[in-house]
Assembly symmetry: C2
DNA sequence: TTGACCGTACCGACCGGTAGGTATATACAC
DNA sequence: GTGTATATACCTACCGGTCGGTACGGTCAA
């Protein structure tokens, strides 16, 4: 993976991201990817041994790209953990520009179709998610410590919730053909996190056990 | 649409919901649907004139099914609008049982793949969403009135946010192979709504305009 | 000259859709 | 009742395009 990002191979991977995010995985033909990359099948099968192999490589590529994007993002500048967390949410909102396939998630798109039919690909996408969650979890845990939170929820569950809102927003955006729903959902999420930590350290009713039935 | 839900046709529609929620739309072969329904292609093409025709009919069927499900749901029993809203979230959580294809959303699954490649199908799914949003919006508006809310957010945006969390949860669930993430996200959503309305009528900083850049 | 890289040409399986036939129910004339 | 006609519902068999994957030849740098 890490050693040589060959130029043509990289072009094929970039093309894969674009085409899959536009058409979904199953509907993506290898020749679509080749055309997008300006290459032919001969080149394709020199670099990848199958469509599934491509998907796995693309998932890995996507993960590396995400890590890079968020590592270079400005939201790290906030001094305290809570500030960084809120800035992350704002950053995700700021990413919602351009055409839909430009900002929606490759892994999220694929996992919808592949979770039963292509377990390996699905697992690769799940790793992308896990990485994001772990990254967020660190800041959340620190923010909880800063505020002395003894909450009825875990850092991990809030990290997952942030991903949930992000990806759910992509679906609404696709349905409505506009990113405004996704942006407004991130606003609600931002407000939620503020309210959560504004509550202070007191333990609230743990929702998990307040179910009536 | 409305006149006769012919038995075989209905079986084909049910089969479509199941297969598509398992494999996605593109990967769903007409023969898969036939096999699931215990019929053959001849029968299929007697009832539907193409795969896309099936998808449109299934989206309509799914919408009717949703309306029916939520109309019959117990969450309407709460006397006040806020109580109904919270009970709705709990109800969505309670639906997360059984196998993944049993509780994930047909429309949400399809829109991911079809939003660019099959605009008509995508539009049909968007109508499903719009119906849900409208339904929620009514209760939210009432709850806002009850609590004299002058919030920096709209009833519509909160309704969409609820859908966002629901559908985002499905993606996480597919990635992790478990519904627990989705359930915990709905817990967070429940808590958010409580906190929002516990704030009382004061106007908070409207997030939409608090962006730094 | 060797091997990485990339192109053209092609194969074969798969799958959406068609063609054409059979079974059954209903309607009506006689 | 019996025969004819028509419509619905369903089947088997097949066509034709599509697409993942292969075979193989050419080019160019080391």
């Amino acid at each position: 993976m890490t050693p040589p990002p060959h130029e043509s191979k990289k072009r094929l991977l970039e093309a894969t991201l674009k085409v899959v995010r536009t058409k979904g995985y199953s509907a993506t033909r290898i020749e679509d990817v080749c055309a997008e990359a300006g290459l032919t099948k001969g080149s394709f099968f020199h670099h990848f041994k199958s469509k599934e192999d491509l998907a796995l490589a693309a998932a890995e590529y996507w993960r590396a790209l995400s890590i890079e994007t968020f590592a270079a993002a400005p939201y790290h500048k906030a001094g305290d953990a809570l500030g960084r967390l809120l800035a992350y949410v704002d950053f995700r909102k700021a990413l919602l520009t351009g055409d839909l396939p430009d900002f929606t998630c490759f892994a999220g798109t694929i996992v919808q179709e592949a979770y039963r039919t292509h377990p390996d690909v699905s697992a690769a996408c799940a790793r992308d998610f896990a990485g994001q969650i772990k990254m967020l979890e660190a800041d959340i845990r620190e923010a909880m410590r800063d505020h002395g939170m003894r909450a009825g929820w875990t850092a991990e569950s809030l990290a997952r919730h942030i991903l949930t809102v992000t990806h759910g927003g992509f679906i609404l955006a696709k349905a409505e053909g506009s990113a405004t729903a996704a942006a407004e959902s991130l606003d609600h999420l931002h407000r939620y996190i503020e309210l959560l930590f504004a509550q202070g350290p007191q333990r609230r009713t743990g929702r998990a056990s307040s179910q009536k039935h």
